[in-house]
Each structure stands twice: as structure tokens, then as C-alpha cells.
Amino acid sequence: MPLERRPAIAVIGVGNALRGDDGAGPAVLGRLRAECPAGVELCESDGEVTGLLDALSGRRAAIVVDAVCSGAEAGTVHCWRDDGPALAVLRSSTHALGVADALALAEALQRRPHRVTVVAIEARHFAPGEPLSPPVAQAVDPAAAVVRRELAHWLQEVPPCTSSR
């Protein structure tokens, strides 16, 4: 879809549903599918930087939903608006480029949405083939509720389908 015709808001679920708690982002996206408001696009991302950058581009606002390890109790739902501590926590590798780099690159390339919220679920287990661990599974609905509240707030300010970027 051409950038100028994209929904103005994206919810980007980052993660791998086949890697235990790394599936938190896709799981939250799954909850939102049944009742996605007009003007909002739900995007899945495996965290690869060019794909993430593409999902962020042409939006006025974006919510990134991801699993994080910040040291909090497993299942804790974080909501970080704009920069906050999100970038540091999301930088998880000395080599691969991920969510933090995609947001920073989007900023440098003038492709970053005006508003970015990161909704993150504190994760613990990432074993291949495992489902979400119980505390993370229990946090999916509360995280989806945080996303919905954020969207409701934005949709009052950002009329759907009027992307002007």
C-alpha cells in the first residue's frame, strides 16, 4: 500500500510465536484482531530492522508491542510513551539490529511516527516450541487493554484514514 494511503496508526506486534514468551507481541495482536478500529493497521514483525522500519513508515502514531527483559516480575505490563526507558531496554544485542535501532533509524530518516508507545510484557522463558509461560499468558489481556486505551485516546486526536505524512 502506498505510504500516503496507509492507516494513520499501526499496532506492531514483534516476536516469534514459536519461541515461548517471545510470542507475547503476536498474542496481543491476536486479541486485537476481532475489534480493530478503522484507521488502525495491525502488523506482525519478526523484529528484522528493515521490515520494522517499513511498518513504522507513513504513520502518525504507532504502538509497538514486544516482550522485554528489564528485570521486572514476569508478566508485568509496561507502557512507555515516546522515548522513555524503552530504547535502552529494547537494545538486546551487540550485533543484530532490532526495535530500538528501527525506532532510532526511523527518527534519523525522518520516518518516525509523531507518537510512539511501546507496550511491553516482561518475559522470562524463550525455549523453542514452548507456549507463553503462565504469567505472560495472563498478561496478554491486560496488555491488549492498554493498547485499546491508547488507541481510543489517539483516535480522538487522530481521525482515521487521514494520514497526511
Binding site: D46, E48, T50, L53, D54, T94, H95, A96, L97, D101, A104, L105, E107, A108, L109, Q110
Partner: protein, 433 residues
């Protein structure tokens, strides 16, 4: 500033902008480098043991998981090695499709390294984000080019990371010609941008650091090597890849979780773009050689810092090669040649973006793998990296430990090391004693 005649130890605890976890320790005494150790502490990954008792058919998919940057290389080396064990030959359009898949991987891996990991070193930036701010159009185009590499891998392999369409004997499904033709317009654009990128990287400032390397790569009598060829060196080695272990040995050193490879008769050696370029220069199309010559890169380049230029040359080549393959492609009558398991051994090398990747399998008559051996490119380059550092460090003794560490990290990134592969890196320590 520390005086050059004092002893000091410089440690880099975590090497950034390399694949995996590793560290570097340099011990200096009286301005002389006493010891250089590239310590790969990424845990051993035991892939060779995982493969024992598994079906031959699983080797490409299991070994692909060794690396998220070069899974195609693992799939190709595994498939070729098993095919050699079974006496299977894959030719025609299927061979061309494998080459196209490899073009995609070279493009995505090289473009990521050139612009995101390596170029910041030459421009005095901490990371690629700063390049993006100052060279926005260049980075936008580089990201488009990387995406094109990903999309080639998706078109042939079914998925951009860890493709799912590769099997021993060929593919599960051959793409339709029309699906590949959809990439054509972007490939034509890519060839144009790759020439601009080549000019950009050739204009970076390079230290004068020519070294007398032994280069090792595949060499093919007709083409720039990717999937096939003989094992060749710049000092006269020329043998079938089945003789790899006769000429190259791996040793365990206590400070590293990656085995170090050396030539049995000649010590350390270099694999990767510089080796491929120098051993296969004549196999590059005249237009690509001319583009390299136009930016001052000719046959015989021995400066590892200029590997960034060679990578850009290989990106241009991979794009032109992908165009050639797509324009000539007609879907094959079947997506794979029949494979009949039999007891045997098979060895193969293919050219991963970082250099030759060797696989050796012994397979039983039930088709189960009895033993596996994998020698990745970074394991082969470890000694060459250490030797570069031994020669480079004396030039920078006047620098602070932080400044010296930075120069060492730069030298390591010349090799685009993939430590995740090699353990099957980086923390730098400089000891000035």
C-alpha cells in the same frame, strides 16, 4: 595518555557490531605486543552432535539455525555435502535457483555489514544511526537494497530468514518465472545504486596496511564461486573440496570456544570477500571488473580495511548475476532431483558471505547421519585476525586504551566475523605490563 614504553593490558569486554559474543585481550610490554587473544565466549553450540542420528534430509534445516544472517550458506553446504555422499548431481535451472538464492544472501549480508556495521568505523561514527542522519538518501537506498536481498531469498527460499524451501536434491517448490520477473525492475535499480555505493565506500579513508596473506577460497573454472568449485589458495593449493581436511586442521585453544583453523603446511590464512576477489578476479564480468578498476580496486588487493570495497563489488556482481539468472529462468519440470540414500561420506564447501563454509557428513545406509563436521568461515579467520592485530597495535601505542581498543575493533570488523557461527565475540583487554 599512556607512554609506549610502559606495559599495559587492553581489554574490550564486548565487541560491538559483530555477530555473537566475543572479547579481545592484548598484552603489551615495553611497546612490544606480547600476546593477542581473540576470545570467543559465545557458548559452544554442539550442532555437530545434534546432527548425529538425524535423517540426511534434516541437515540443511538444522544447520541453517546456526546463523540468522547466512542460513542459505549452511543450507547449501549441507545439501551439496549430502548430495556428494549419495552421488546426486543438481544441474540446470535448479542449480541456477540455488545460485540466485545465494545472490540474495550475499546482497542482504554484505549491505548490512557495509552500511550498518563497517562504514561507521571509517566515518568516525558510533553507529549506523549517525550515518542515517548525515547521509539520509544513501542509507534509505541501502535499506531498500538490503530488502531486495531479503526478497530474493523469500522468492526462492519461501522466507527471508531461515528459508523453508531448500531440500537435498533441490527445492520443495520451484518458483514461477513470473514471480521472479517481479524482482527485475528493482534489480535494475539496485545495479545502479550498487555502483554509487561502490564509489562511496571507495572514497572512505583507508589506513595503509597491506599484508602478505594466504588467501583461500573456492575457484571455479567458469564462474565467480558460490556453490561449487575447487579449494584454492594464493600459494598454489588446488584440490577437490573433499581433500579439505588433508590441508586444513582445526585446533582447540583454551581461551576460545571456537576451534581455530590453520593450513597444515602454511599456518594461518584468510577466507572471505578479499580471498574470493583475488583468487577469482578473472571470473568477474568485465563490467564489474571495470567498475572496480574505476574506483581504484584491482587484482591483488591485500589491505583488509578495503574489504568494504570488495563487498560492494560483490554486491554489484550478485545483483547482475541475479538479473542474468532471472532473465534466463524457465521453471524446471520438477523441483528436485530424486535422492536415494546410501551409505557414504560427502564433503562440500560453499562461499558464505564471510568465506568458505565446509560441511562433512558420514551417513549410514539407513540415511541417518553418523557424524558431522562443520568448519565455518570465522573459525578459519581467527588466526588471521590475531595476526592483523599483532601488526596493527604497534602503530597505535600512543593512543589511550580506549583509542587503541577502537582501532582493534575496527580491524576485527574488517572480517565481518560471525561468532555465533564460529562457536559452534567482543570484550577487548589490553594488558600493558
Amino acid at each position: 595518555m599512556t607512554r609506549a614504553d610502559q606495559s599495559r593490558t587492553i581489554k574490550v569486554d564486548y565487541l560491538a557490531r559483530v555477530e555473537g559474543e566475543g572479547a579481545l585481550t592484548i598484552r603489551l610490554k615495553g611497546g612490544v605486543v606480547e600476546d593477542v587473544k581473540l576470545r570467543i565466549f559465545e557458548p559452544p553450540r554442539f550442532f555437530e552432535a545434534f546432527l548425529q542420528g538425524r535423517s540426511f534430509a534434516e541437515a540443511p534445516d538444522i544447520t541453517a539455525r546456526i546463523c540468522g544472517i547466512c542460513p542459505v550458506a549452511y543450507m547449501m553446504s549441507a545439501a551439496h555435502a549430502v548430495e556428494r555422499a549419495f552421488g546426486v548431481e543438481v544441474g540446470g535451472a535448479l542449480r541456477e535457483l540455488r545460485r540466485l538464492l545465494y545472490c540474495g544472501e550475499w546482497i542482504e549480508s554484505h549491505v548490512l555489514h557495509i552500511f550498518m556495521l563497517h562504514a561507521p568505523d571509517f566515518l568516525g561514527y558510533d553507529d549506523a544511526i549517525q550515518i542515517a542522519r548525515d547521509h539520509r538518501e544513501l542509507v534509505e537506498a541501502a535499506l531498500r537494497l538490503k530488502q531486495l536481498g531479503n526478497d530474493i531469498v523469500t522468492a526462492v527460499g519461501g522466507r527471508e530468514i531461515h528459508p523453508v524451501n531448500v531440500r537435498v536434491g533441490g527445492f520443495y517448490k520451484a518458483p514461477a518465472a513470473a514471480d521472479l520477473q517481479r524482482l527485475r525492475e528493482r534489480l535494475v535499480w539496485g545495479c545502479g545504486f550498487a555502483r554509487q555505493a561502490l564509489e562511496f565506500v571507495a572514497g572512505l579513508p583507508f589506513p595503509d596496511f597491506e599484508q602478505d596473506y594466504t588467501f583461500v577460497s573456492l575457484r571455479h573454472h567458469l564462474e565467480y564461486p558460490m556453490n561449487e568449485g575447487r579449494l584454492a589458495s594464493s600459494r598454489g593449493l588446488d584440490c577437490d573440496v573433499a581433500a579439505f581436511e588433508e590441508h586444513i586442521e582445526e585446533r582447540h585453544v583454551a581461551y576460545s570456544n571456537a576451534l581455530q583453523a590453520t593450513l597444515r603446511d602454511g599456518g594461518h590464512y584468510m577466507v572471505g570477500p578479499l580471498a574470493r576477489f583475488n583468487l577469482n578476479y578473472e571470473r568477474l564480468p568485465a563490467g564489474v571488473r571495470a567498475a572496480a578498476a574505476a574506483v581504484g580496486l584491482g587484482h591483488g588487493c591485500r589491505n583488509p580495511f578495503k574489504s568494504i570495497i570488495v563487498r560492494a563489488v560483490e554486491v554489484l556482481y550478485a545483483l547482475e548475476e541475479a538479473l542474468r539468472i532471472i532473465d534466463a529462468y524457465q521453471a524446471p519440470p520438477r523441483p528436485a532431483v530424486p535422492v536415494q540414500p546410501r551409505a557414504g561420506e560427502g564433503m562440500a564447501c560453499t562461499e558464505a558471505p564471510r568465506g568458505i563454509l565446509y560441511h562433512h557428513y558420514r551417513i549410514g545406509d539407513d540415511g541417518l547421519i553418523e557424524s558431522a563436521r562443520i568448519v565455518p568461515p570465522t573459525a578459519q579467520n581467527q588466526r588471521a585476525i590475531e595476526e592483523d592485530l599483532r601488526r596493527l597495535v604497534p602503530r597505535y601505542l600512543r593512543l589511550s586504551d580506549a583509542g587503541l581498543s577502537l582501532q582493534c575493533e575496527r580491524a576485527i570488523r574488517n572480517y565481518d566475523p560471525c561468532i555465533s557461527c564460529a562457536t559452534h565475540f567482543l570484550k577487548t583487554t589490553v594488558e600493558r605490563g
